[in-house]
Point group: C2
Amino acid sequence: MAATAPSAPTAPRITAVDTYDIRFPTSRELDGSDAMNPDPDYSAAYVVLRTDAGDGHEGHGFTFTIGRGNDVQVAAIDALRSQVLGRPADELCADPGTLSRDLTGDSQLRWLGPEKGVMHMAIGAVVNAVWDLAAKRAAKPLWQLLAEAEPEWLVSQVDFRYIADALTRDEALGLLVRGRQGAAERTALLREHGYPAYTTSPGWLGYGDEKLTRLARQAVADGFTQIKLKVGADLADDLRRIRVARAAVGDTIRIAIDANQRWNVDEAIEWTRALAPFDPYWIEEPTSPDDVLGHARIRAAVAPVRVATGEHVHNRIVFKQLLQAGAIDVLQIDAARVGGVNENLAILLLAAKFGIPVCPHAGGVGLCELVQHLSMFDYIALTGTTENRVIEYVDHLHQHFLTPVAVRDGRYTAPVAPGFSAAMRPESIAEFRYPDGTYWAAELEPRTQEPRTEEPRTKQKGAAA
Amino acid sequence: MAATAPSAPTAPRITAVDTYDIRFPTSRELDGSDAMNPDPDYSAAYVVLRTDAGDGHEGHGFTFTIGRGNDVQVAAIDALRSQVLGRPADELCADPGTLSRDLTGDSQLRWLGPEKGVMHMAIGAVVNAVWDLAAKRAAKPLWQLLAEAEPEWLVSQVDFRYIADALTRDEALGLLVRGRQGAAERTALLREHGYPAYTTSPGWLGYGDEKLTRLARQAVADGFTQIKLKVGADLADDLRRIRVARAAVGDTIRIAIDANQRWNVDEAIEWTRALAPFDPYWIEEPTSPDDVLGHARIRAAVAPVRVATGEHVHNRIVFKQLLQAGAIDVLQIDAARVGGVNENLAILLLAAKFGIPVCPHAGGVGLCELVQHLSMFDYIALTGTTENRVIEYVDHLHQHFLTPVAVRDGRYTAPVAPGFSAAMRPESIAEFRYPDGTYWAAELEPRTQEPRTEEPRTKQKGAAA
């Protein structure tokens, strides 16, 4: 499985694939609560690639999880170690696609998916770490590396297996060649104005009406033109909350609603129609992310409310079908759910071919940091537009990253630091590594003797600001 | 998450959830080789539930894998342990559906799927182990326990979330009530004649023409009316091999072909059409198991060759769509890919509603042992027929099971031993536990000093008979 292209024996190689189980105790504050996820502890199965190049560069990547099972995700990344160790760093960074194909095509690991779930997300973490390393070595933020890349090379990074019936290599190449026109102007615009964002911070299901109103107004004051509400647990509550939100933000601000897969197809249709008088901009994850045909039925039934999904769509093959079936109005990529940058390139190309806007899922741990690069590439070098495109923004856990996102006036500022913005602060890793980081060691120790306290603790507030 | 129904403090409970990483060195003989899986080491992430009932009964279950990553699968089962330990055994066995829903609905673990990949297969292993325990405690083979169960209770074991648009609870109940008519007669017929099988043993891609001819003729002599060939690596080879196989078995024996997901949609159509003159009965896994719309296109294009898939279809939601889209002629459940017996009940009910025959995937490690119970239930108490229905049979690794399948005259004999036929022999576990079983300890030790031998060893032959 090792790359076979020749490389000098002394060329730098990958010398370590180190993994970390990082967990933040977010469940204490109901940040991130929704109809399906009442008490998440936002976590990351985190991986660091090290080389013997002596240049100080490392590749960082991770899978986002919400707590239990983060150790399984770490074990899955560990299972990839032997296929990454020893690869020449120059070749790996010049062609992450080969590693991507080797890992997704590994005949034995493939059985555990194929291309879905724990094993596929592990591949995504490792592949994203390679892109982080490649961008650091190129001294460019990843969006810039991608936006300046030759179309031929970009196409070589895409696996067309199982999507060639919807998008051929030549069509993809054509989209990228066309996308370059005006790229320099758009790069300048991006650096000056950033990329539009929307915020989910006001709308978590665990928040009361007063907090919802206050945060929704704050969002508008902060320059956001779209907010999002979690819905799906109780229709009467949802009707009240969307009324409260609409009253807080007025008629010109878009309110997206998000059911987090709570409904069956028919429920989704009824519930969305009931909320339609408050003009929701899109209904997100109305049902199972696997249900292409269900989304198509929902979309036909709830128009003009748009249908959005993608954060749990497990690979390019399902996205292909959502597009082929006319099942979605908004495609929501996630930077760490699929097989990494390479598969997301395929998905961005599919969306461009079908003319469907991409509005990435973010939040979690570091997902905003990652996905901004993909949208910025899409704007500069593929679709050339930000019209009806917004990146999700949630204002928590950014303080744990070395180069956190900067959102100003409702827009993501273009990153300037080389890399994929994936690196966590060493002191955060030392504190929140599970179960032996300083936070968890202190937290888990007394719990065996005394009942769990009801009071949120200062430390937790700090963790989930 | 623990069951909340009252239970006497002294009632028996689950006291252990023990896991084992079992690997058989099948890659040495090319048993199981196909276009996507050239060198599988057939493996099982194996789980044993123990109670303090003092009746000696244990619940056994497993996920089948093909080698690397089996440890990840074991870690996933381990992640479920805390939700199973301490549950009252009586309640658990009287209602496995509650555990099934608790595990698939666990908000944090759900993020790792949802309902797909490593985490979902782990749930399937645990849920199947509960059914094994339940059937042993009821002193019935599982097929009989299911076939004698009340329709109302069976329906209570099914999760209709995300499938209610295709199959309501009332429709399912109606199918089961109708299915009971004549069940006693069919039970007698099953006990006397068994259930039809087909064999894949002749058709592995790694076998030469002489071995293919010999094994294909043997299959006919053994009473099989259908064999299967692996295809998809090289069209010229496939044309030669299907010609050889057709010459060996004559015109009346069905030859299924299996591409193991090797092709894109258009390739699948071209390749299948090229093989069509040799009258293949079905083309199995022509493309990605995720591609509902792709299978629909292939089916329309290759008729009268039937389209079959399912062994890698990850849950009932994808099966629902394959049926809704008219994408398949043959539905291939797998006993250990989805969330266990409960989800397979849902899938059998969906297939019955849509009138599509179920021909299970089997082979691997213990998959024949498990899935026979589901087909026999389907025959006796749901569809009432074996017409155009066959269970896959592969003749290897059965000697490792305490109650191995018995296939005579091309038919599975109805199991009589209580349980789900899932229990592996203790001496096989002791030998093939990885990496510390006696086989692997001896195998892995010298490999660090000397190069790997080319000769198959006596021990390996025994393992993969």
